[in-house]
């Protein structure tokens, strides 16, 4: 095992060691903490760059640590891994900057940043997990590491939201455990393999279907699939950087990513198609897309509205995966990155509005375009992207999803996408109109967010903009996802 092949392990360790150091430094050592935080995030970004280059060139990265007889902790990097770990590494760095600015004078920063790093370590672990067992280990760790962040403020509302969060996610974790052990009993231990490792005749079809659904529900809790979405809108009491991270990379993406792994690399597309569970996933995803958008329409709290929007948008990924053809897969997977970039921008903006201008509700947005023009511009870019205005990022995702739906012979997908786009417009556009065209009546005083909040927001907005505009360039998310789809479908042509 060379150090180069072991890079996935180092990728997890950078955040894990950062977390340990931050806890050890304690509350008072502010400067040292910042150095550790930013240093680790920067180091991680470098490592991600090296692995990206290697994976594109077809190198194998894999580490195997025996954990118990018959079980190995397998950490490896394939193209799919890098989709999530690149996103998390990039967003970790900018969110850290934002969080340092956001929590400038609040207590418990040691605890906050420690668990924040732990959360990123767990997300990276989910991304580099090479088998279901390893995936489960990091998936549960993520649940635990996130809880202190959700209840960070310690208010009654925060604690109640934390309870709801744990009830859902730990319950999902228990289901996942049963599913994973059950699958292990019928199909043996298997590493994630392109095309799946579960043989068709491993067990009766009903048992394989049941196990798939149990694991789907277990992971769907984190991906906030209706009806397991209840925790997400409540978790909005957390500080803005936490919401940003939860919604863009950590928790919801871990769930969606798990479902992608389950479909592509555990069961494999042909078995999923044979069992008919792919369409079930797509149908649940479509329902979630519409339901989330409808609820977003009626939410009056800004962060609440964004949360319902997340419920809706994450299911685009599942829709693409469930349809099970190359075009839809590209659309779904690329949305994993696109949604992350756009949603983190929106949450950064919402946090800045609340901190600087005290604006928390949608009807208080009047005149924000003049009071905080740069932040509002970033918000606008991301919101238009979410709606799917060509040529922004959301459009790219929806275009491929629509094509995929048609190619799969499921024209209703296009109808769902159109309806969702209209609903997105119906809840985002009024906010933009208020901000840019309504006046709040008082004298207009330009007061932008401090640099530590503004810079990450603008960078995230620029990345979201670039992901759409430059989708055809090499190394864009779209190109990377195309590479994944090629590898998945070349190795495992759908039956």
């Amino acid at each position: 095992m060379t150090a180069y092949a072991a890079l996935p392990l180092w990728l997890v360790l950078t955040s894990l060691v950062a977390a340990a150091l931050i806890f050890a430094l304690g509350e008072a050592r502010r400067r040292a903490r910042t150095v550790v935080n930013l240093g680790a995030a920067a180091l991680k970004l470098v490592l991600v760059g090296v692995i990206l280059d290697g994976v594109a060139a077809g190198h194998l990265f894999s580490v195997r640590l025996p954990l118990m007889p018959g079980f190995d902790l397998v950490l490896r990097a394939d193209a799919l891994t890098m989709l999530l770990s690149t996103l998390s590494a990039v967003l970790w760095l900018i969110t850290t900057v934002y969080a340092i600015g956001y929590l400038e004078h609040s207590p418990h920063r040691c605890r906050f940043f420690g668990f924040f790093s732990l959360c990123v370590a767990a997300t990276t672990g989910v991304a580099v997990a090479g088998n279901l067992f390893t995936f489960f280990v990091f998936y549960e760790l993520l649940t635990l590491a996130t809880w202190p962040l959700v209840v960070h403020r310690g208010t009654a509302a925060a604690l109640a939201a934390g309870d709801v969060y744990l009830r859902y996610t730990l319950g999902g974790g228990a289901l996942l455990l049963l599913g994973v052990v059950g699958l292990h009993a019928v199909a043996g231990p298997g590493d994630f393999t392109a095309g799946g490792f579960v043989p068709v005749d491993a067990a009766p079809a009903w048992l394989l279907t049941l196990l798939f659904l149990v694991m789907f529900v277990g992971m769907g809790v984190k991906a906030a699939v209706v009806p397991m979405h209840g925790w997400l809108p409540r978790a909005m009491v957390a500080p803005a950087p936490v919401s940003a991270l939860l919604h863009a990379v950590a928790v919801v993406k871990a769930g969606a990513f798990g479902i992608v792994r389950l479909t592509y690399d555990v069961y494999g597309l042909s078995l999923v198609a044979a069992l008919g569970v792919g369409l079930a996933v797509a149908a649940v995803a479509a329902l979630t897309i519409l339901y989330g958008s409808l609820r977003a329409l009626t939410a009056t709290d800004l962060k609440q509205r964004l949360a319902w929007s997340t419920v809706s948008q994450v299911s685009y990924i599942l829709l693409g995966v469930g349809l099970g053809n190359p075009l839809a897969s590209v659309g779904g997977l690329v949305h994993l990155v696109h949604q992350g970039l756009m949603k983190i921008t929106l949450f950064f903006c919402a946090g800045a509005f609340a901190e600087v201008a005290g604006v928390k509700r949608v009807d208080e947005l009047d005149g924000m375009g003049r009071r905080m023009p740069l932040t509002m511009a970033a918000f606008t870019v991301a919101a238009l992207g979410m709606i799917g205005l060509p040529p922004l990022a959301g459009f790219v995702s929806k275009w491929y999803l629509g094509l995929g739906g048609l190619a799969a012979g499921q024209p209703w997908v296009v109808a769902v996408l159109v309806a969702s786009t209209l609903l997105n417009a119906a809840y985002f556009l009024p906010m933009l109109r208020r901000a840019w065209f309504n006046s709040d009546g008082g004298a207009v005083e330009v007061r932008e967010a401090p640099l530590a909040l503004l810079a990450p927001t603008l960078i995230a907005a620029a990345l979201a903009l670039g992901a759409g505009l430059l989708a055809a360039m090499p190394w864009s998310p779209l190109q990377w996802v195309t590479l994944i789809a090629e590898r998945v479908y070349l190795l495992a042509p759908p039956s």
């Binding site: 025996p66 418990h108 489960f136 760790l141 049963l178």
Partner: protein, 488 residues
């Protein structure tokens, strides 16, 4: 059967007689203060390293049998050390070293200083616990159980009369359990004409003897519905005593149940009765967890958690197999480490805030974040969260249930982890709540905690988490010398 090689030959008696001789020395020299302070800690640190060669010998060569005085059963008494016994001995020595260190660290604070009587009883108890892990004779086990119970009762009253009622209740339950166990011993002797476990395994026992022995041990292990004495006693005892009682004393009885059901008792009950036993165990898990969720005092939460966690032992007879054996063995080990860490950390909390009502924990994070972290890490293992040892144990149990076709136990085990997570989180939640009710005063009191008082539970909690990563060799060790083996 393997004659003991050099290491076990002197390590096994040392594990029993060194603490007992220490008890004698403490009793003879009650006024020699440095000795009272240092001896428990030093003995702990001396005996702990013995576990390494012993564990290695058993893992490589299989179980070790030692005939005391050279007299083999049925004439003499034998000690028998297999993988499970090594795990329990390892737990005993680890917790003993940690508790010794804690007592040493608490010594400078007059209010926390242990009395000579406490030290004597603890060392006596410790020696008896080690002997209990090795004994292979039903009557020898009876005698040792009596020493352990009486030592435990005295430890509960270690400080003041407040714990007297709880201790008397404990004594009553313990004596009832002993009588029933003794009845079982008599019935067993009538059945088979021997009390040596090795010979009994071949002879087989009738259902009445098996029932009486099982019931007696259930009293001692505080398994539901015979748990009535435990919560009050463990909550009222001094910090170090709570840790020892919950981590080791009830564990010894649970260990004996495991040991007896693996060979001597197997086949004496019908499958329906075994399922009923498992139902009792899992009802205890449910009952203990629900009670833990309802308590308002920290130590009572931890005590009820013990009632809950021991219930898993009764799954073994129903699931009978290598994976279940490994799972329960590792569960006992990880629970012991985690529970001792929790009680020691809770003791520190009580010193700092003079109280252990959950309502008063708000803001604890700011003054005692280390102890809170210990509690959280140990709780993670209890709730079976990866990568802690409790997770591996849970995994094995779930897998064992699936393999045995008893999927209902798989679901029950997976779900019961959620309850454990529930009561652990409830404590952490109380500590993270704001506004914090802390003034400056507790911050000063928190400085009364010496580093050793925090380091002892920290090491235990770290061990509980880290052992999960050592499952690759703990599993085979648990199987060494047992009646089970894993299919390749």
């Amino acid at each position: 059967m393997i004659e003991p090689s050099l290491t076990p030959a002197w390590a096994l008696p040392a594990l029993v007689f060194v603490p007992m001789l220490g008890a004698l020395v403490l009793w003879l020299l009650p006024r020699w203060q440095p000795l009272q302070r240092w001896l428990p800690a030093v003995l702990g640190l001396v005996l702990l390293p013995l576990m390494w060669p012993l564990g290695h010998a058993v893992a490589v060569d299989g179980a070790v049998t030692l005939a005391l005085g050279g007299h083999r059963a049925p004439l003499g008494i034998e000690w028998y050390v297999d993988g499970l016994a090594v795990l329990l001995l390892g737990l005993n020595q680890t917790v003993a070293a940690a508790v010794g260190g804690y007592l040493w660290g608490a010594w400078p604070h007059a209010a926390q200083r242990h009395s000579p009587g406490f030290g004597v009883c603890w060392l006596l108890l410790w020696g008896a616990l080690n002997a209990l892990a090795m004994s292979a004779d039903l009557f020898n086990i009876y005698v040792l159980l009596e020493i352990v119970s009486l030592g435990g009762v005295v430890l509960v009253v270690g400080r003041g009369a407040g714990a007297f009622a709880a201790a008397m209740r404990y004594l009553l339950f313990a004596l009832t359990g002993s009588l029933i166990y003794l009845l079982g011993v008599a019935l067993a002797y009538a059945d088979a004409g021997t009390l040596s476990l090795r010979l009994l395994a071949d002879a087989g026992l009738g259902a009445p003897a098996v029932t009486a022995l099982t019931l007696g041990l259930m009293f001692k292990a505080a398994l539901w519905p015979l748990h009535g004495w435990l919560p009050a006693a463990h909550a009222a005892a001094p910090t170090a005593a709570s840790a020892v009682l919950s981590a080791l004393v009830v564990k010894a009885a649970a260990y004996l149940l495991l040991r007896l059901w693996s060979d001597v008792f197997s086949g004496s009950w019908t499958p329906a009765l075994l399922q009923a036993l498992a139902v009792i165990g899992m009802t205890g898990v449910l009952f203990g967890s629900v009670q833990a969720l309802r308590q308002v005092h920290l130590k009572r939460v931890i005590a009820y958690s013990t009632v809950a966690q021991l219930g898993y032992v009764l799954l073994l007879p129903a699931l009978a197999g290598a994976l279940a054996w490994q799972g329960v063995a590792l569960h006992l080990l990880s629970h012991g480490l985690a529970k001792a860490a929790m009680f020691l950390a809770a003791g520190n909390v009580i010193i700092a805030i003079r109280d252990d009502r959950l309502d008063n924990l708000a803001g604890l994070d700011r003054v005692l974040s280390g102890n809170l972290f210990i509690f959280a890490a140990a709780g993670m293992s209890l709730a079976g969260m990866p990568p802690a040892a409790g997770f591996v144990a849970k995994w094995w149990l779930v897998r064992a249930a699936v393999d045995a076709g008893q999927w209902w136990w798989a679901i029950a085990v997976a779900a019961s982890g959620l309850l454990a997570a529930g009561y652990v989180i409830r404590v952490l939640r109380a500590a993270l709540a704001s506004p914090d009710s802390f003034a400056e005063a507790p911050r000063h009191r928190a400085r009364d905690l010496s580093p050793a008082m925090v380091a002892a539970p920290a090491l235990l909690a770290a061990a509980a988490v880290a052992l999960g990563l050592g499952a690759a060799w703990l599993g085979p060790l648990a199987l060494a010398g047992s009646t089970w083996s894993l299919a390749p």
